[in-house]
């Protein structure tokens, strides 16, 4: 981070203010942003949703949405003012400055082979190759640069034939085609698996250091920024809150907002309550459950026993298409090897067995496609298993089809909090209706009669209170609530029928870390107060470590490792678990930060 102070910055932004016009007024996007990036430097802009971090980057490059406007400020690239001059902007954008976006698949044209898309970028670059042949060679060279093996073959693939991580690497190759001096990466790995994230970020870092490329990394993930950025800029509500060297910002955050953000990021050595901002108590005590008295946890009372659970897809459609000639069947692909695979059954889950004692919390972790969600859906009876038994409260509910289970009296005992807080709520139901709906259904099927209106109302309010949802929010529609509030509606809806088993499917993955901290604490408090048994499905190992007693690690549909959380995290026995743990960016650096904080504290103590 030592660089000559007199060198002029590659990109300099002065007092940038952006406003957006809505139908009624002009709202501030960002206000008075100042930033500098030097050659070869990696600057991270971190902040929660709505902090203005993306707006800053888009405004600099003239990519604002139509209703956005730069009100004042100056943007200079290599000494040249680009903000007010469209021609200067065009000469810089895509040539001196490359972009990578979130959701790589959406950024690629689905109908054009990826090699041809890179070729376009090569031909549009500052110094296009003289011949088509040279250009093609350059495409392969770029693909190899972003560590895509079998580059020749892959260049002929269409975007849908490649994984998300591969698509992101294609985009990086396209961004690098014109040998830019600055790369702007807007949440480049959000939505990708942690191991993929690590590969992408390592590639970016190596390219930056070997080519002297400056990088602007926009991310909500403090851990990611900590590991890959030399300088950090923390933004909140359109303002720069704090800026400085990464370690300085993280180890000694000066502003309360940064302190809260650092505290809320889960990592080893932190307890759940540590995530909450200093001074804020763990969530208010949960109202004691009146309807069902809390039994003292009886030891060795086995609530759930899952044995040999298996789910395969593909049989039916294959059977149905068997009269077609081989080439006309669905699922055939360009490569012969893939065709063989497509014809075979796809095993989403194979032979998963586990058990749960009453009051226990088990975490199922894994990357996308590991079968963790499929497993949880089968246990929740939202999906029929191919084989295997699910014994819940002494009864094999696996024998009941998922369709008939909706009317079973057991339905209320297993409830699910879904991943997407907004998407899992009926857009036309108010929060109140959403919570009332399962209560009505389940009490009807249980008693054969309806609850009285007053007692129904009371139960809804109680559930909302347990989930930390203010009563005045109950009349709102989902889109009128914030992400955290939507998540709370989802929790209240699951709790209102007083289930025994609560399945949490990535309940906080769509939330900002500070909101996540509060929601996780709330869930943990509820679990203890109501003696809930919990299955926690997540890709985020840090969160699972905080919430669960035991962990199952899944990969390609099988459980590769299981054990107590403590054991799995401190001494993982399977190579994949170790790889997974190593790929999490937060752990190492933030641990050092914690360590640094402690030693700093000791030091100051010694001096005083």
């Amino acid at each position: 981070m030592m660089k000559p102070l007199n060198s002029s910055p590659l990109l300099e932004v002065k007092d940038l203010t952006v406003t957006f016009s809505t139908s009624t007024e002009r709202v501030k996007g960002v206000e008075k942003i100042n930033l500098q990036i030097h050659d070869g430097e990696t600057l991270g802009i971190v902040g929660e949703s709505g902090s203005g971090k993306s707006v800053t980057a888009y405004a600099m490059m003239g990519l604002l949405a139509r209703n956005g406007r730069i009100d004042s400020g100056e943007v200079r690239f290599a000494g040249q003012a680009i903000c007010s001059d469209p021609r200067a902007l065009a000469s810089v954008r895509g040539k001196e400055v490359g972009f990578i976006f979130q959701n790589p698949r959406a950024a690629l044209n689905p109908l054009i082979r990826v090699g041809d898309q890179i070729l376009d970028a090569v031909l549009m670059s500052k110094r296009p190759p003289a011949t088509k042949k040279e250009a093609r060679a350059r495409v392969i060279e770029l693909l190899e640069m972003v560590r895509i093996d079998r580059a020749m073959e892959r260049s002929r693939a269409y975007p849908h034939e490649l994984s998300g991580g591969m698509c992101q690497r294609i985009l990086i190759a396209m961004a690098l085609a014109s040998e830019p001096r600055l790369l702007i990466a807007d949440e480049p790995t959000t939505g990708l698996d942690v191991t993929t994230q690590k590969v992408i970020m390592d590639t970016l870092r190596d390219l930056a250091s070997s080519r002297g490329l400056a990088t602007l990394l926009i991310t909500h993930d403090l851990g990611l920024a900590a590991e890959y950025c030399s300088r950090l800029m923390v933004m909140s509500q359109g303002h720069v809150v704090e800026e400085g060297d990464t370690l300085a910002v993280l180890a000694r955050p000066r502003q309360p907002y940064t302190q809260r953000l650092v505290a809320a990021t889960p990592r080893i050595g932190k307890e759940l309550k540590d995530l909450l901002p200093p001074g804020q108590q763990p969530p208010p005590t949960v109202a004691p459950d009146q309807g069902r008295q809390v039994e003292t946890p009886a030891l060795n009372l086995r609530l759930l026993q899952v044995e040999g659970l298996r789910k395969s897809f593909g049989t039916r459609s294959q059977h149905r298409q068997s009269w077609l000639p081989r080439w006309a069947r669905r699922g055939n692909d360009v490569c012969d090897g893939q065709r063989e695979q497509a014809d075979a059954l796809i095993h989403a889950v194979r032979d998963v067995s586990f058990h749960l004692e009453e009051g226990e919390a088990i975490g199922i972790v894994g990357e996308s496609g590991s079968g963790k969600t499929t497993t949880s859906r089968m246990v929740a009876r939202l999906l029929d298993q191919s084989t295997g038994s699910i014994v819940f409260m002494g009864q094999d509910i696996g024998k009941q089809s998922s369709r008939s289970f909706t009317s079973s009296p057991m339905r209320r005992e297993i409830q699910v909090v879904f991943q997407d807080p907004l998407g899992s709520l009926n857009p036309r139901f108010t929060a109140y209706d959403s919570i009332r709906n399962p209560l009505r259904n389940c009490t009807q099927s249980l008693n054969g009669g309806e609850l009285s209106r007053d007692s129904e109302h009371e139960q809804i309010l109680a559930a909302a209170q347990q989930a930390g949802l203010a009563p005045e929010l109950l009349s709102r529609f989902p889109h009128q609530l914030s992400g955290g509030q939507q998540a709370r509606v989802g929790i209240a809806r699951a709790l209102v029928v007083r289930p025994k088993l609560l399945i949490l499917d990535e309940p906080t993955s769509a939330l900002d870390v500070s909101v996540q901290a509060v929601v996780l604490n709330q869930l943990d408090a509820l679990r203890r107060a109501l003696n809930l048994t919990v299955i926690f499905v997540s890709h985020d190992l840090n969160v699972v470590r905080l919430m669960c007693d035991r962990v199952l690690v899944m990969r390609h549909g099988s459980v590769v490792e299981s054990g107590t959380t403590e054991n799995v995290f401190t001494s993982p026995s399977h190579a994949y678990t170790r790889e997974l743990l190593a790929a999490i960016p937060h752990l190492k650096i933030m641990q050092e930060v914690d360590h640094g904080q402690n030693s700093a504290a000791r030091k100051t103590g010694a001096f005083e």
Partner: protein, 291 residues
């Protein structure tokens, strides 16, 4: 009752929201004003029109528009203004009935089909496809010819030709909605499949389908007028826009322009207005557009 203030949240703000959506789009507002005033006029036609729409007065034939006869008079001296207004009542009623039929049946068939899948869906889907291979107006002609010349057969014919659009649209909408995660949440909440279809799928598909309702109303009116123009269904001397245009066609060369301009214009503006209104109707009905 403690629950009343919380469990009844929707009524508040709907009128405001509807008004805001309409004023946001001035063309839709104009269309709405035109349609509402035409509707009010036609419903109260018995009291406000100055003349009996079927009463002839050969002394007063072919009078051009004046203070006495705003839209002039026709070949047998009937007041064109009275006839245009009275015709609106009939056209609105017939079109409204037929679209209501095709909306209810089409939405149910389409959404139930795609939601439950299986043979039912395939049969419904293929029948829809086959229907759409025919020129729809000719189908309507055939139906009226087969069922006999009556107002009911026009309603049925028009309903049948509008049906495929509702089936297709609701199939597409419910097909999109049924894989969203709130459906899974509804199953976890113990809703039966029928309940999910009724409370979760169709209400969410409605805003889109209502646009089709508005467009179809326009088409249905065209169907009714077109059939009557050809002499099917409604018969003279009943006032109907298509009939009036057909009768006027004979005398247009004589320079009696008002005979064709007023009923033809009413027809054109009505169809146009229904099309313009559809856009705003979706904004009005979709709660997500509410602030």
């Amino acid at each position: 009752m403690i629950s009343n203030d919380i469990s009844k949240p929707e009524s508040a703000g709907f009128v405001q929201h509807a008004w805001r959506s309409l004023t946001h789009n001035l063309l839709s507002l104009a269309a709405a004003i035109y349609l509402v005033s035409l509707l009010v006029l036609s419903v109260s036609a018995g009291w406000i029109t100055p003349y009996n729409p079927v009463e002839t007065n050969l002394q007063a034939a072919y009078l051009s528009p004046s203070a006495e006869h705003w839209f002039g008079t026709d070949q047998v001296g009937r007041d064109v203004f009275s006839r245009v207004i009275n015709a609106a009542k009939l056209d609105f009623a017939v079109a409204g009935m037929s679209v209501l039929l095709s909306f209810l049946l089409g939405t149910f068939l389409g959404s139930a089909g795609v939601f439950y899948g299986g043979l039912f869906d395939r049969v419904v889907g293929r029948i829809t496809d086959v229907m759409m291979t025919f020129p729809l107006f000719v189908v309507a002609l055939a139906i009226v010819a087969a069922l006999g010349n009556s107002v009911q057969s026009i309603v049925i014919a028009s309903a049948v030709v509008n049906l495929p659009f509702f089936v297709r649209l609701s199939r597409a909408e419910v097909g999109r909605l049924r894989v969203l995660s709130f459906v899974e949440a509804a199953r976890a909440g113990g809703n039966s499949e029928f309940n999910i279809l009724l409370k979760f799928m169709i209400p969410n598909a409605l805003p889109t389908i209502v646009v089709q309702v508005s467009t179809s109303l326009g088409w249905a009116i065209l169907d009714v007028a077109g059939l009557s123009f050809l002499g099917l269904g409604i018969r003279p001397p009943t006032p109907e826009w298509g009939i009036m245009v057909a009768e006027a066609a004979a005398s247009i060369l004589a320079g009696n322009w008002w005979l064709i301009v007023f009923p033809g214009g009413a027809l054109a503006f009505t169809v146009l207005s229904f099309n313009l209104l559809g856009d705003s109707l979706r904004d009005i009905l979709d709660v997500r557009f509410r602030r």
